[in-house]
């Protein structure tokens, strides 16, 4: 009899979950809520971690390996830490490159200044690089688009840059673009090199995986403070933050692409008599070209997604304008800057994708002029427009509109947006506000309270229990260890708030995604449509989602959560469609033949079979949600994000705190990831899909 029950429990996961839930509820209600009770909250034994980290960072910066460096101003040798000199030279190099591209397009004398003395430059004030007139740039964007993808991309590029120019965003756009133009190649080279290394050496790949996992789940904010400490403020710091964030996907794409090459192709290369280098550059990389260029595309998208965040460490451009507009609650201006970023993102996205798919025709028999026709037109138009603009110097007295239309003078639709927002406010204030209030008091408030009222033993039991039931003892210990690490810091309560927001948003986003995905996946056309909608939304940098919600729901948890939900619905939808589309047709037919209704087919055949894939989507949803929840600190929430954000203004102990907190968020995401992946794997095996 007893044995029978045990067997049932052993073989039935629902029964196990049931027991776990009962234990959890008992612990929840029985453990007294008082400080000093270790079942309620653990002591902060790990509080030293951020402090130690700080010490290490500052020791590295000011004490390790002192070098004697000649100081030309004071004309004497000075002791400087090697590491600091190293970071300084990186900063200088990057800044030089970014400024170089910027001045090349916008004109100026900073780069010339590097090569000549200040005094000489002052005496010769003709010595300044002329700006590229926006008119010529527009022609350039048009021609480039034409070269890459015909008239459609030409119009996209041309009209896009025309819009940017005459709406007065030319200068910040170029600032942002120069940032992207320098950061992307660096990410590309780094990502490709590490990717190749990982592909060639198994050990390197194994070592890279966890590092990449952490890097990709760390909230972007967490990097900022350490970067300020190491590299100072400025465009280069923004670039470094972006490199840190955008390189991991490049590495992953490279490894993925190389691994996907069939071993036969490699052997064919070898049998053709390739040397190692030839094999790498003529066979492996070109064959993996699609995935590698997809990586480049991701890098560019990440660069644009980072522009606002980078502005916190001193990067100039559209991101900074957007940040300023948001801070002073000017929605129209913010929307305009946001629109420009999205526009640039879309243009670069389409251009790089077209480039990735472009084929070279070796058999064109063209003359020099035919081959370089577009380049020649472009060169000529630069010349003509420059001359026109130069002559016009005499005509315009203050601002030469043919070079640049400054932001105050450009067209604007900001006031329309402001008016629209006002109208929405006036018309819907009551309903919006009451919805907001209802959500806060009836749903979010109680949920938050419930999370905060969770004794730490209960939380640990629940997470480890779930991990155990799904993945066994090793998964359970791994997840438990990560949770314990957070629980023993002094930030557990904040972490609970982050968890509550994330849970809510993940559930909502997953539901949305699964429902929307299921509806559209019913037909092939629908699938195509919804996938391209997903593509479109994914080109939006994450903070763009925050703009509308703030103005509808003010600075509350609601705003952040809605932004997070919308943002995270995209991957949930995408994976649902993928999952449903991968259900073999024969099963559909088998279902139809056995006379099940549409709904039955959906619940009994499609969803269970697509489940593993959908779970991977939910996984993505968790990462997306956490990013957005932390980003929510930008507008003021009170979870971990806020502390990370706060660390920005505390240069002294900031870096350690930010890294630690970022790591916590990353550990949460990885815990979920570990469990979900295991689960998806098991399901796949059970369904015979793996």
């Amino acid at each position: 009899m007893d044995k029978n029950y045990l067997n049932i429990i052993r073989s039935s996961k629902p029964a196990q979950f049931g027991i776990l839930l009962i234990v959890f509820l008992l612990l929840y209600n029985l453990v007294p809520h008082n400080e000093g009770n270790y079942f309620w909250r653990l002591p902060s034994l790990l509080a030293f971690i951020p402090i130690k980290l700080n010490e290490i960072i500052y020791a590295a910066l000011y004490e390790w390996f002192p070098l004697k460096v000649w100081d030309p101003i004071f004309e004497m040798y000075e002791e400087k830490a090697a590491f600091r000199e190293f970071t300084k030279s990186i900063s200088k190099g990057l800044l030089f490159l970014i400024t170089f591209v910027r001045e090349l397009l916008l004109g100026g004398d900073k780069i010339i200044d590097v090569f000549v003395s200040d005094a000489w430059l002052k005496d010769n004030d003709w010595m300044t690089w002329p700006a590229l007139p926006w008119t010529a740039a527009t022609v350039g964007a048009f021609l480039l688009g034409f070269q890459l993808g015909g008239i459609r991309l030409a119009l996209l590029g041309g009209i896009g840059s025309l819009y940017v120019s005459i709406f007065g965003n030319w200068v910040p756009s170029i600032q942002t673009l120069s940032f992207v133009l320098i950061t992307t190649p660096i990410c590309f080279v780094l990502g490709l090199s590490f990717g190749i290394w990982g592909y060639l050496d198994r050990k390197v790949e194994t070592a890279l995986q966890p590092v990449l996992n952490v890097m990709q789940t760390m909230p972007q904010f967490a990097y900022l403070v350490p970067i300020i400490a190491l590299f100072g403020l400025g465009d280069h710091a923004g670039s470094i933050a972006t490199i840190v964030i955008a390189t991991p996907p490049m590495i992953r794409n490279t490894i993925l692409g190389l691994k996907r090459i069939s071993p036969e192709v490699v052997e064919a290369g070898l049998m053709s008599g390739c040397t190692k280098t030839q094999l790498l550059f003529k066979v492996l990389i070109p064959t993996a070209r699609r995935d590698i260029l997809n990586g480049v595309n991701t890098v560019i998208m990440q660069c644009l997604a980072m522009v606002v965040i980078a502005s916190f460490v001193g990067a100039k451009g559209l991101g900074l304008n957007l940040k300023i507009a948001l801070n002073s609650l000017k929605i129209g201006k913010a929307a305009e800057a946001g629109f420009c970023i999205v526009l640039i993102a879309v243009i670069l996205d389409r251009f790089t994708k077209a480039w990735a798919n472009k084929q070279v025709d070796y058999f064109e028999n063209l003359t020099f002029f035919q081959r370089y026709k577009l380049l020649i037109i472009f060169g000529t138009s630069i010349l003509i427009f420059s001359i026109i603009a130069f002559i016009a110097n005499g005509y315009f007295d203050k601002i030469n509109y043919l070079y640049v239309i400054p932001i105050e003078k450009g067209f604007t639709f900001a006031h329309y947006i402001d008016a629209a927002v006002d109208w929405v406010w006036e018309t819907f204030f009551y309903s919006l506000n009451s919805f907001n209030k209802f959500l806060l008091t009836e749903v979010l408030g109680p949920m938050k309270k419930a999370y905060l009222g969770m004794p730490v033993v209960a939380t640990l039991t629940l997470t480890m229990g779930v991990a155990y039931i799904i993945g066994g003892i090793r998964t359970s210990l791994l997840v438990g260890g990560m949770m314990l690490f957070i629980a023993m810091s002094k930030y557990w309560d904040r972490a609970l708030i982050t968890m509550y927001m994330a849970t809510f948003a993940v559930i909502m986003a997953s539901l949305n995604g699964i429902i929307v995905g299921s509806i559209f996946a019913q037909t092939e056309r629908g699938s195509k449509i919804i996938l391209s909608v997903c593509d479109f939304f994914e080109t939006f940098p994450s903070f763009v989602y925050l703009i509308p919600v703030i103005f509808l729901f003010n600075i509350t948890d609601t705003s952040v959560l809605i932004a997070a939900i919308v943002y995270a619905t995209v991957p949930a939808t995408r994976y649902t469609v993928w999952g449903l589309n991968s259900v073999p047709l024969s099963l559909h037919e088998a279902g139809t033949m056995s006379g099940v209704s549409r709904i039955q087919r959906w619940t009994n055949i499609e969803i269970p079979l697509a489940f593993p894939t959908i779970m991977l989507g939910v996984n993505q949803t968790v990462v997306f949600t956490l990013q957005m929840v932390i980003l929510g600190a930008l507008i003021g929430t009170e979870d971990l994000g806020q502390l990370i954000f706060g660390a920005l203004s505390r240069a002294q102990d900031g870096p350690g705190v930010a890294i630690t907190l970022g790591l916590f968020v990353s550990l949460m995401a990885i815990s979920v990831d570990v469990i979900v992946r295991k689960w998806a794997e098991e399901r796949k095996k059970a369904l015979g899909l793996a």
């Binding site: 069939s262 036969e264 192709v265 052997e267 064919a268 290369g269 070898l270 049998m271 053709s272 008599g273 390739c274 040397t275 030839q278 003529k282 066979v283 070109p286 064959t287 070209r289 084929q359 025709d361 070796y362 058999f363």
Partner: protein, 337 residues
Amino acid sequence: MSPTISCSSVYKIFGNNAKTLLSESGGNVDAKKFQEAGCIVGVNNASFDVNQGEMLVVMGLSGSGKSTLLRCISRLTDATSGKILIDGEDICLMNNKQLIELRREKMGMVFQNFALLPHKTVLENIAFPLQVKGVTTENSIYKALEMVELVGLKGRENYFPRELSGGQQQRVGIARSLAVEPDIWFLDEPFSALDPLIRKEMQDEFLRLQSVLNKTIMFVTHDFDEALRLADRIAIMKDGIIEQLDKPDNIVLNPATDYVRKFTEDVPREKVLKIESIMDASDPHASGEIAVKKDDIIETVAEKILNSKEIIKVVDDKNSVVGSINPSKVIKVLFGG
């Protein structure tokens, strides 16, 4: 003349401690025992020669080690032990540079799934081995055009592999492997991924090419009919061991092991056997109008023999009579009993 390819006691065993295990066993490899020790036996004590201009077909079920044997001989993988001589030189001792040289000058390989470079056109794929060697673009393209014509792909030079059918892709694979004019030609199940009609067509094409080129060939297949159509000699493999290596008719007539017999059981004999094997040689002065050659495959002349009322004489290459044939023997081969 020394054989073009010569293998003696070649072993390939996959696994971490393969070398030690092999030396402990003293060459007496038992696949089961090795498997328990965590090793997989790919090739087990293979010794054979392939002569200049000969086509050796390697046959066997999936997993029997055919590809592994081929990959050892092309040194795409290192044999665990044994000697592999190509034109008298031991390739196992070659350094990287010599190996690349060998592949650039002497070897060509065709793969089951074509293994074309997806980013290159037909012409570029074919020119690739030449360009890797350092031939100028112009010359390599010129040579590639010649190859395109040879394999009958004229007009599709600028297509990408994804725009071609399976048969066409394999023609590109064949052209690529021939571009450097290799002496030795390896083909690993080149026609297995094609559907039967195209396969037949490609086999004919292949025979036509071989009659012009006369290369030394190792051809892997798991299709016995294909082996019979093409082979000078056939090697039958099982679990890494070469069970029998012989002329096609000998394999059918005298299978060395039960495994080989199973293989040959369903093979229609008239498709393999030559007249020579059923003629009556004791009567070298047979008269009569009608003659068949002693090297004719029975199937091809059966009708002629059965339709005739007289005794049929068998002649050799020089048209001198070497024996006679009794229709009842042909009937026996055709219908059994």
